[in-house]
Amino acid sequence: MAGSEAKTNRVNAYSQLRKQRIWLFVSLHLLLGWTVLASWVTGSKPVVCKYQGEWHVPVLDDQPRKGSRLALDLIERAGSDYKLLSYDLVLWPLFSRDPHLLKPEAAWLHPLEKDLAGNVYCLGTYELGRDLLAACIFGLQRSAWLGLLAMGIAGVLGGIIGSFAAFQSQRHGRISWVSAAAVSLLLLLILVEALHFAEPGNFSWTGLSGLVAVVISLAWLSVKTWKCRPKIHFSLDRISLAYVEIMKSIPGLLLLLLLVQIVPNAGAIEIALMLALLYSPVAIKYSRSFAMRRIPEPHIDALLALGASPARIYFRHVLPRVWPELFPVLVFGFAQVVLLEASLSFLGLGLSLDTVSLGTIMHAARSNPSAWWVVVFPAILLFWLVYSLNALGDWLSRDFSQDHSGGGSAFP
């Protein structure tokens, strides 16, 4: 019931956004299309090709399928340049420019300036002759994906942990310490043994059957003790509150600057994980407070009286009501994460400098302050992305009087 109601709300929100804020609707769809389709629009790899009777979609993979004719010929005959091969059938991206191709002789060209071979660069080039237009297209894609990944991880994990902590603390789903310990031991055991078995030569039937026996007994123990009411019970609420308190007390940027140092040459996924760690307390805090408001409602009591299980109440009646309220917080967080990543990369501490993102493009401009185009164009894209996200967050939270921007920007 609650699920279908939430679904109707979602559909309503979508059509209402189109009616009330048409510019935002269009701009978000453009951004989404851009993020999904960027590598189909520009790049030096074909979108789809048929090579000696085999179909390939090179934009989706870093390398062609191993052992295929294309993979062999690409290395042997073409030196990893797709352009030098002849295909049966091929669909190239709209622009063949690729920011990863370096042409040091054509560095720092002004917009619309021609290089020696007569190629025109719409937005000019920057460091090492990278094409700025292509770099912007890829950069916006990378920034948006990175923010989405970070906020997705922080939002899903934080949302579930926070609301479950609230649910558990409000009497409905007590977990005993025994059960909590058994569940965590179970998960740890499975993780460690999976890593152990994954190494070659470690597999044995006796080990596996022993593991299965232990897993079954632990699972039995955790189910048996789940609802028992011992004097001391496991309070996820206190633990998550302590986590929020501690994370809140560390200056975020300081923590991030140190975390970035741990992984040398961090890739987009590592940076996204660090940003997710930084934003998880915000998600936990808000989802906890939203769930706290939902749980005392009378229909939950009615459900309990009808004999609904705690799991059913939590998953069908608490969680679906927390998501719509949490969503604006996550959208604001998304915008903040994108800005934070851009600032880090701009300082030269985030993504490695040969990875193209909006921040690293602007980092390049620091070595040549007179190259105004390298600052202005990526910055406009960054502004567009962040402004649209903030506007979406504003629009989504218009019904709630509270402030949802999750602690605001890194001060000041």
């Binding site: 560390i250 300081l254 140190l258 502004f383 504003d394």
Partner: protein, 340 residues
């Protein structure tokens, strides 16, 4: 009240311990830092020459790694012979060590950098508070007028502008030989080495950094105050204030504003640690030799004693800030006493 202060102090101290341990653990995880720190610690203790001994354990107890082949005891008690204990003892004696880069005492480097951060951050915070409260009052009083509509759009736009981009664009516009060269690009040729005197001698050096600190956060704060005001305009005590015949501006200032202050006080908790890490990017761009730039450079050249000290300072100030804001909130909002 005393009981509240005491309990708040105790939880604050526990949080501080946890944060310190976490921070030092993170610094130890950075590749190479362990060996550099161990050599430095051995030198500081003057016990054994560096590298002769196995590195000290990190904390009072160590947990055996599940993933390593050699499985030692799972939980091992290390006693006081661990680097956290030694570090805490040194800090308790106010001995913060020497910088690894130039051998200067950490205290001395901090003393040189602090005035620059203060001279930049304190005016920025004051300006931010004044501007945001003023803009919020204006927005409430003239809601619906076209000037406020424009101001609202501008502020929302500024909220989406990162400080580093604003700094770069302002430098391109006002400190560029190809455009306008009316403002200095950084503190290189500042006429006075004293940051406070520089405000009198040549305030144009502070103009751009100040703008870059204030403008991006202005929208957030103005929203905070405005929403608080609007919420209180629907309550009965506001009708009572209007019925006394006060002019609307006075009524707003005397009645609604104090009630809208608590979120601002919570925000103010972040002001103290902002002295350390609040302006890393801006100080780096404008080459202001303050604490933020010191932090960035110490991380870049792997000057761990300096980083440890700045982390200690930053987290101490954050915990302190939150404690102060909690106390202030209880004073501002007496209802909190009943619920707690």
């Amino acid at each position: 009240m005393l009981r509240f202060i005491l309990s708040r102090f105790i939880t604050g101290a526990f949080a501080f311990m946890a944060i310190l341990w976490l921070g030092l653990w993170i610094i130890r995880q950075i590749p190479g830092s362990h060996a550099e720190l161990a050599a430095w610690e051995a030198e500081a203790e003057q016990s054994t020459p560096a590298g002769q001994e196995a590195p000290l354990p990190g904390f009072y107890w160590s947990i055996g790694s599940i993933f390593s082949k050699s499985r030692g005891p799972f939980l091992q008690w290390n006693g006081t012979g661990n680097s956290f204990h030694l570090w805490a003892c040194r800090y308790a004696k106010m001995d913060f060590g020497n910088s690894l880069v130039d051998g200067l005492p950490v205290k001395e480097k901090f003393r040189r950098a602090l005035p620059w951060s203060m001279a930049l951050q304190l005016p920025a915070i004051a300006l931010l508070l004044l501007l945001s409260v003023w803009l919020a009052l204006e927005a409430v009083m003239r809601s619906g007028s076209w000037s406020m509509a424009i101001a609202d759009r501008l502020l929302t736009g500024l909220y989406a502008v990162p400080g580093f981009w604003l700094a770069t664009v302002l430098l391109l516009l006002f400190a560029n030989a190809e455009c306008l060269q009316i403002l200095p690009t950084g503190m290189h040729g500042a006429p006075s080495p004293n940051p406070y005197r520089l405000w009198w001698v040549a305030p144009q050096y502070y103009l751009l950094p100040l703008l870059c600190l204030v403008l991006p956060s202005l929208a957030y704060l103005q929203r905070l105050v405005r929403n608080g005001l609007l919420e209180h305009l629907q309550k009965p005590h506001w009708k009572r204030a209007l019925s006394t015949g006060l002019p609307i501006r006075t009524a707003l200032l005397m009645e609604a504003l104090p009630a809208a202050l608590p979120p601002l006080v919570t925000w103010m908790a972040g002001v103290l640690p902002a002295l350390v890490s609040g302006s890393v990017i801006i100080e780096q761009i404008f080459s202001i030799p303050g604490l933020g730039r010191l932090l960035y450079q110490s991380i870049a050249v792997r000057d761990w004693p300096m980083v440890q000290f700045l982390f200690f300072l930053g987290s101490a100030l954050t915990v302190l800030g939150f404690m102060c804001s909690d106390l202030l909130l209880r004073w501002l909002d007496p209802r909190l006493k009943q619920t707690a």
